[in-house]
Amino acid sequence: MMKTAETALNVLAQVSGKTVPDILPEMHLARDLGIDSPKSLELLMELEDAFEIEIEDVDAASMETVGDVLAYVGQIG
C-alpha cells in the first residue's frame, strides 16, 4: 500500500514538476498542481504505465484531487 502511494506520488511529482513532499492529498490536480488537460492525459498514461492497468474514463473523470488518485491506485494496488 505504501509502495503504491509512493509510486503514484512520484508520478504526480513528475507530471506536475513539484517535489513529492510538496504534494498533499487535499490538493486539487488542476488548481494546485497545474495539471491541465494535456498534463492530465500524461498523468493517466503514466499511471497506466507504472501500475500496468487500464483506467476507465469514468474513473479518470472522478479524479480531481491527489487524494482521489491515491484512493484509486490504493484500490487496484
Partner: protein, 228 residues
Amino acid sequence: MSARSAELKRRLLWPATHILRGIVNVLGRSYRFRILHEERLRDLLEDPRPVVICCWHQQVLAAAYFLHEKVHKQGLEMVLMASHSRDGELVARFAKLLKMRVIRGSASRGGQGAIRSLNRALVRDRVSPLVIPDGPRGPIFECKPGAVLLSQFARVEILPLGFAASRSWHLGSWDRMFVPKLRSRVTLSVGALRTVSRELSPEERDTECKWLEELLNELTREAQAAGD
C-alpha cells in the same frame, strides 16, 4: 431533434456509407499519385513496425484513401479514430467497410480515453494510428499534443505526411478540407521518421509539437509546389 428524425438519420447512415464508398472508389482510382521522398515510406513498408501517422485535417480524405491503398493493404495495419458524432459514425462505418480498425473518441470529447486506447493498440496490437494533430475542430494547422504523447508513451516513431492535389474542391468546413477532383494528380511528401524521447518535460513536448506543426506545413508546401 425528434425521435422520428433521429431514427431516419440513423437509417440513412447505411446507404450514405455505401454511397460514400462508391464515390471514394471512383475518385480514388482515377488519382495519379506522386510520392516525394518515397524511399522513407518504402523503408517502413519493407520493415513494418507501428508508427504514429500524422497529417492535417484538411488532407484527411486524400490521406485516408492513399494510406488504405498503399500502406494498410501493403502490410502496415492501421487504426483510425472517429468521433462520437453522427459524422464520426459515418467515418467509423466507412472504415469498417474498408476492414480498418476504429477507435471512437476525439480530442474534445472522450479524447483522453481515445488517446489511451490508441496507445494500447499501438503497444499491444502493433497497429499504426492515423492521428490528425489539428482535429477534430482546429484551429487549422495548429498541433495538439496527442501525436507526440502517443509517440512518447508507446515508444514509436512519428511519420509526418503532407498532401496536395493538382485540382480539388474545397469544402466550407473550418479546415477548408480538400477533395481531389477526378483524374487529378495527388502529391504526397513523406517526412523523415522522428523518434520522441520517453522522458520529455512539458516544455520539450511543446517543442516537439511545434516541430511537428512546422514539418507538416513544410511537407504540405513541398507537395503543393511539386504539384504545380
